[in-house]
């Protein structure tokens, strides 16, 4: 036996009870997803910055003669590597890794670009640069610029490069340079860094997770 007053009270409270249950469930679902995403980013192969860093303006030129700056980094994830086309070991090894990353990601993550920045503008003419990057993948982007513009970019990223004269053959030189691959997010911010030795599977997996957790 239920008293009529109790039923009325229950009826009155029902919307609040339903609302509370829905709110708690929604809260749990959101926090679960949020914390899962955070946990998912806890053991990346690369190093992710907790505060991605916005870039100061710089102007480089791609091998087709078009300007390349922060605008060209927007709206896409960008893997960026610094090197020079006459580098026989590290650069082709890294470019092969990026080629493999591209084929692994295929179109699973939309809008990923691969940018090779030559720190040897003196020898890397647009033609040389174009032939080098497209040999690995026709979609790869090759850019370079004046020493001043290159430094505008490299200084804010902590990227290092310096000429080393070849003592055995005067006039020729190699270039010591950062061997890491840098990752920029679709807001053109320095988001993560991958140190050598690089594995294509690691880069592809990290990007997939970072892109999923992005916003």
């Amino acid at each position: 036996m239920t008293k009529p007053g109790t039923i009325t009270l229950a009826r009155r409270l029902l919307p609040f009870i339903v609302a509370t249950v829905v709110a708690v469930a929604a809260g749990l679902w959101v926090s679960d997803r949020y914390f899962n995403r955070q946990a998912d980013l806890a053991d990346l192969h690369g190093t992710r910055f907790s505060e991605p860093r916005a870039l100061q303006p710089f102007t480089l030129t791609d091998y087709k003669g078009r300007p390349f700056g922060t605008e060209q980094l927007k709206g896409k994830w960008s893997f960026v590597f610094f090197g020079y086309t006459n580098c026989p070991d590290v650069c082709p090894t890294t470019m092969s890794v990026l080629k493999s990353v591209a084929s692994r990601l295929d179109n699973k993550v939309p809008g990923v670009q691969y940018v090779f920045v030559s720190v040897d503008p003196e020898r890397d003419t647009p033609e040389q640069l174009g032939q080098f990057v497209t040999w690995f993948n026709g979609d790869f982007i090759g850019v370079t610029g004046t020493g001043q513009e290159l430094e505008k970019l490299t200084r804010q990223l902590g990227v290092i490069y310096m000429r080393v004269p070849d003592e055995k053959s005067p006039g020729s030189y190699t270039i010591d340079h950062s061997a890491s691959v840098l990752l920029f997010d679709p807001d053109a911010r320095f988001h993560a860094i991958f140190s050598a030795p690089l594995k294509a599977a690691d880069l592809a997996e990290d990007l997939t997770r970072l892109a999923n957790a992005y916003r």
């Binding site: 580098c87 026989p88 590290v90 082709p92 092969s96 061997a179 050598a196 030795p197």
Partner: protein, 154 residues
């Protein structure tokens, strides 16, 4: 094949000295040169050097008729910066092996005399500290997928 050659050439000496298989016996295996874009004036070569003998060996030079110049180099990554260091000699302990691999020790091959494409073969020669030489062939090939098998952390 090369091993047999060395054995054959060394046989008279061995017989004269009356010792059994003394000294170092160098073999080169899995020699390959990374196929490079047509613009590349410098190519990198990799291989495994094996010493099947019972005394240490030392590789002191590399040459090839297909390149203007060839050198031994090592890539070192220090604080994230890649540096190329010339290598004067590569010691190979008795019964041991030394790997030349991407991101580590490698052959620097300058100014190819012809356009080298995947599948081509190139003749090379290593010189040892006792001035003996060993001829071998390297295959022009693309890097194994992403070098996962070669890129050991150092």
């Amino acid at each position: 094949m090369n091993r047999i050659l060395i054995l054959l050439l060394g046989l008279p000496g061995l017989l004269l000295s009356g010792t059994l298989l003394a000294g170092s016996l160098i073999e080169v295996q899995q020699a390959w040169i990374r196929e490079a874009p047509p613009t590349s004036r410098v190519l990198a070569g990799y291989m495994t050097i094996i010493n099947t003998g019972d005394s240490p060996a030392e590789i002191t030079g590399i040459s090839s008729p297909d390149f203007a110049k060839a050198e031994l180099h090592r890539t070192r990554v220090v604080n994230g910066v890649a540096t190329m260091v010339p290598v004067e000699s590569i010691p190979v302990p008795a019964g041991g092996r030394v790997l030349l691999e991407p991101g580590g020790m490698h052959l620097m091959l300058f100014d190819p005399a012809r356009r080298l494409k995947r599948g081509d073969r190139v003749r090379l020669q290593v010189k040892q500290s006792d001035d003996t030489t060993l001829d071998f062939e390297a295959r022009i090939t693309r890097a194994p997928d992403d070098n996962d098998a070669h890129n050991h952390p150092r």
